[in-house]
Subunit: 210 residues, 2 copies
């Protein structure tokens, strides 16, 4: 995979909630059919064994659709399943250390909610940043929130892609027009959608009509 | 470090509880002065960043005393700080995969509470097993408990060292006489000791008088 060709348009972050692994795998596959272009597995309470086993199964699916798979926070899981990369937050492994461990070929994304964090992420070797929350979100209630102006300032302060995250829905995604983002990162808009395939298609449509 | 020379006699597993990092580092240093011969950092709730930063600091101390440092569960932390190895439970990364990732030089310990788990750990490439709980313990209330007979059967079923863990104190450690163990693994007996140096010395004494 050439890192320059990554399509961030429709970026799915998984969320276990009350779902079984089988339900999660079904949702991911449906989402990929609808054009989800990159997947991140986020597991904050699972045991390492359960995380590893789920990640192995998700990789079979993302591999089939030739879509990159990232692991949230856990470099050990990413290494164990040979994922395409990791997404790390400000409370995770320092990005520079993650780059040193994973090497140049792997994708590293960093959560950044200020210009300073965004510039540091870029300097530390991040391939993209995730910025938000751009809308109020129930998934991560401790996430900092940023305005559309903040988002504009952040995307124009760095040369790596910015993915917007936090409370993005089919209803509000269009409001992120002209912010310079590379894509919509969503949890609930796909994970909790009645039709994850359609939700992915619509998110792509909204992004491409910007 | 030659893995054959590892001294498992007095094996300290850290526990954060209400302690600051500074307090933990002090306890570890005192324990090492008293003869603690191997240290495992166990952090089940810390952020990756906090775990990484604590582990870096612990490594400075264990390095000074030339004692191996293992990381519980998290191979990513072990790799990031170049620890001497990991200790993995039955709900962590499969031991075979851990060996594949870490290579032959690193120490891998596996929690095993049955003969089957012990034999599997050995076959999967573990350097030692941790077996317990040999006494009732408040640190891990979900841990399986084993009798002295179980312990005897486990140590005689494998050729790698067995470290006993779970509720071991200065008062009851002598009861593990003639079980074929390679050492006492303790949390509270040192972490909560008034004098961690003395506690380590006494644990060594008890072990060596067996």
């Amino acid at each position: 995979m050439n890192k320059k060709d990554i399509d961030y348009t429709c970026y799915l972050v998984t969320d276990h909630k009350d779902k079984t692994n089988e339900e999660i795998l079904n949702i991911i596959e449906e989402a990929l059919k609808g054009g989800t272009s990159i997947v991140q597995i986020r597991e904050k309470t699972a045991s390492t064994k359960d995380f590893y086993e789920l990640a192995l199964k998700v990789k079979e699916i993302t591999h089939k659709y030739d879509v990159p798979l990232l692991i949230n926070d856990r470099l050990d899981i990413a290494i164990a399943i040979d994922a395409d990369g990791v997404h790390i937050g400000q409370e995770d492994m320092p990005a520079q250390k993650a780059r040193e461990i994973l090497g140049e070929e792997k994708i590293i994304g960093v959560s950044a909610s200020t210009i300073e964090e965004a510039k540091k992420a870029e300097a530390d070797g991040a391939d993209y940043i995730g910025t938000g929350a751009v809308f109020p979100t129930a998934t991560k209630d401790d996430a900092p929130s940023i305005t559309k102006d903040d988002l504009n300032e952040i995307t124009s302060s760095i040369s790596i892609p910015t993915v917007a995250i936090g409370g993005i829905t089919l209803e509000n995604a269009h409001e992120l027009k002209d912010t310079g983002i590379a894509g919509f990162s969503v949890v609930s808009a796909i994970m909790s959608a009645e039709n994850p395939k359609e939700a992915s298609e619509k998110l792509r449509e909204i992004f491409n009509s910007q």
